[in-house]
């Protein structure tokens, strides 16, 4: 895929002959580094939708390149370096594990601007951006807690990092709120994308009594596994992750969290074109539309759907924060007092969250 893009860009360069465009500017080159294949149907798919939106918005004024399935680690550094050497002006690195590679490469290319997704290390030419996925998790927990018959909710987690732990906590708090008997079973897959393992994990959770599967991994395999289980007579519901995964609606997929990166990517590309780009830290949620909730299907009872929609409206309007006290930590000590909402940063802040809330029985892997 990359090769084709490169050839296309080489051909384009040859045609222009290295000359400037009509308005006197070279096209701004925007690069994307993806952790999975663009066909994963989830996380990377949505980032690629963002790339397509940038192309649509700017047309010839912008040139885009991307590399998919880049492993987190040293290989990522190589890919980013190559992009920078090929003249990229702005590079989006779209996975948590690219954090240190991004910082390292950015230090070598002070004139290239980098944007790292879901991390926390900023530099003069490195912005960080993320979405408040936990707002969507709260809605999932709210629906899941009322949909479960077995009171067991299965959760396929990826890596024990704050983003994933926030999601587990948010879902658990809101499931517990509507269903005090609810229990979470958590499997750490230690991968973002491994369809066979994700399906295996979903099957295991279903065998152990879970009738709701929440996933924080990128492929649609858990949805397919749940659908197969339903065909065999079970009743299992799932939620789309990162992308709508609407092909599995109306059941098992009853709703979804959609990451909408397009507006952000367009805004940042525009900033580069205008010369106003600065290193920023962005963490948007439902209020700006970076986090969206996919259609709640008719498999969900009308009253549950109505209350979920109320919650969505309250979070979007900023009237409700999913982490509002009283909430205790897993060890029983107070995290948030009555009425207190979680801070983004600082001790016990959401950005560095590394503990479970009270009631979750498993331990956070170290």
């Amino acid at each position: 895929m990359l090769r084709r893009t490169l050839l296309a860009s080489a051909a384009a360069t040859a045609m222009i002959g290295g000359a400037a465009l009509a308005d006197g500017h070279e096209p701004v080159k925007v690069g994307f580094v993806y952790v999975g294949p663009i066909g994963d149907g989830g996380w990377t798919y949505e980032h690629h939708q963002g790339l397509l939106a940038v192309q649509e918005e700017f047309g010839d004024a912008v040139e885009t390149v991307f590399v998919e399935s880049v492993p987190e680690g040293p290989d990522a550094e190589r890919v980013m370096t190559q992009m920078a050497l090929e003249g990229a002006d702005l590079i989006f690195t779209t996975s948590f594990g690219y954090m240190d590679p991004t910082i390292n490469v950015a230090a070598k290319f002070p004139d290239v601007r980098f944007e790292h997704a879901t991390g926390y290390k900023q530099a003069d030419n490195v912005s960080v951006y993320s979405a408040r996925f936990y707002e969507g998790r709260a809605v999932q927990g709210h629906i899941a807690g009322q949909m479960t018959e077995s009171n067991i909710i299965g959760y396929i987690a990826s890596f024990p990092i704050p983003e994933v732990i926030r999601g587990i906590n948010a879902a658990y708090i809101h499931a517990k709120e509507v269903n005090p008997d609810v229990e979470f079973k958590i499997i750490w897959a230690y991968t973002w994308f491994d369809p066979a393992k994700e399906a295996e994990a979903a099957n295991t959770l279903i065998e152990q009594g879970a009738d709701i599967i929440l996933q924080h991994t990128d492929s649609t395999a858990p949805q397919a596994a749940a659908e197969a289980a339903n065909e065999a007579g079970a009743t299992v519901y799932t939620f789309g992750q990162a992308s709508d995964m609407i092909e599995f609606a109306p059941a098992p997929r009853v709703s979804s969290i959609i990451d909408n990166w397009a507006p952000y990517y367009i805004e940042r590309t525009q900033a580069v074109i205008d010369g106003t780009w600065e290193s920023v830290s962005t963490w948007d949620g439902m209020d700006t539309g970076m986090v969206e909730i996919g259609e709640i299907t008719d498999a969900v009872p009308a009253d549950v759907k109505a209350s979920a929609e109320e919650m969505i409206a309250a979070i979007t309007a900023g009237e409700y924060h999913p982490f509002t006290g009283p909430i205790n930590k897993q060890d029983g000590s107070v995290w948030l007092a009555e009425g207190e909402t979680a801070a983004d940063y600082g001790d016990d802040g959401l950005a560095g969250l590394n503990f479970y809330v009270e009631g979750l029985t498993a331990e956070v892997p170290q």
């Binding site: 994963d40 994308f193 369809p195 295991t204 395999a221």
Partner: protein, 304 residues
């Protein structure tokens, strides 16, 4: 700790299913290696089988057609390897690795447009009478047909290798190809057939992943299953019976570690995940030196 939520019956049942893809791929590779050829392209043949089988199953709506196409595709890819190594006398290790890389790329290309689609259903057999036996019934007799086909292939390979003249010839070719040639056996023809059988089995194993186990196609679906199959062949010291144990051990550990996690048992999953590989190394160390086929990996040319 709460082991109570792990249902041992379901655990053992899912073990049989989890082991099937690697069992299929490994039994094919076992025959190839007994014929004296080392084909490291199992992973590549598996993933091409998984994507082509999936596409055929979607296109026709029939999972059986998918398995058929996957077996043919695996055999076809293996034939390419066979021609390279048997007629053009290329290095087997390098050709095998190339086959894996080629297969991964080809599958990614062919799979575009099928990502996220769902395989046609492939219902479990509920074998009458046997399936109703308490405990054993749900563990052994309520699976989809491919589980039993896999076991039948293992039994068939054992019978073929140990009880038939053809099996004797194949083993002779693998132990000492020059002696077999001197006796008038067709070394290259025997090996080509073995290589194609191995490819067909790998293709079936891959298709089992995409049609039954996951059941959807995604890039990188096999995620190293082919390499595990190669390890199992060594673990089994090239014997079909032990291969079955090896496949269930590897499959069992995968399922067990997920089950333990879901049950909230706090043992580090890393140790469990590495245990089958440690077992393989131990077997290699303990094993008497002579049990690998004598001509394994060596190039044969009739002129010598």
């Amino acid at each position: 700790m709460d082991f109570g939520s792990i249902n041992p019956i379901l655990l053992l049942a899912s073990l049989m299913v989890a082991a099937t893809p690697i069992l299929l791929a490994a039994i094919g590779e076992l025959v190839v290696e007994r014929a004296g050829v080392l084909n490291l392209g199992v992973e590549g043949m598996m993933i091409v089988g998984s994507v082509l089988g999936f596409v055929a199953a979607i296109g026709t709506g029939n999972a059986w057609v998918g398995f058929g196409v996957a077996a043919v595709a695996g055999a076809g890819l293996a034939l390419m390897f066979g021609i390279l190594t048997q007629y053009l006398l290329t290095n087997q290790v390098a050709s095998g690795l190339a086959l894996t890389l080629f297969g991964l790329g080809l599958a990614a290309l062919l799979g575009q447009g099928y990502l996220g689609t769902k395989a046609p259903s492939f219902p479990d057999l509920h074998i009458p009478v046997l399936g109703d036996i308490p405990v054993i019934g749900p563990i052994v007799f309520q699976h989809d047909p491919m589980v039993y086909i896999g076991l039948a292939i293992v039994a068939g390979v054992w019978w073929f290798l140990n009880k038939t003249r053809g099996g004797l010839v194949l083993r002779a070719v693998g132990e000492n190809h020059e002696a077999a040639h001197a006796l008038g056996y067709h070394v290259i023809r025997t090996r080509l057939l073995a290589i194609m059988f191995g490819g067909a089995c790998a293709g079936l194993g891959g298709a089992y992943l995409s049609i039954v186990r996951v059941p959807t196609y995604a890039e990188g679906l096999t995620a190293g299953a082919g390499w595990i199959a190669l390890a199992i062949v060594v673990f089994a010291s090239w014997k079909p019976g032990r291969l079955l144990i090896g496949a269930y051990l590897f499959g069992g550990v995968t399922v067990l570690q997920l089950n333990l996690q879901a049950a909230g048992v706090a043992i580090p999953v890393e140790y469990l995940s590495m245990s089958p590989y440690i077992a393989t190394i131990l077997v290699l160390v303990i094993m008497s030196a002579g049990s690998a086929p004598g001509s394994l990996g060596k190039t044969f040319h009739a002129s010598r």
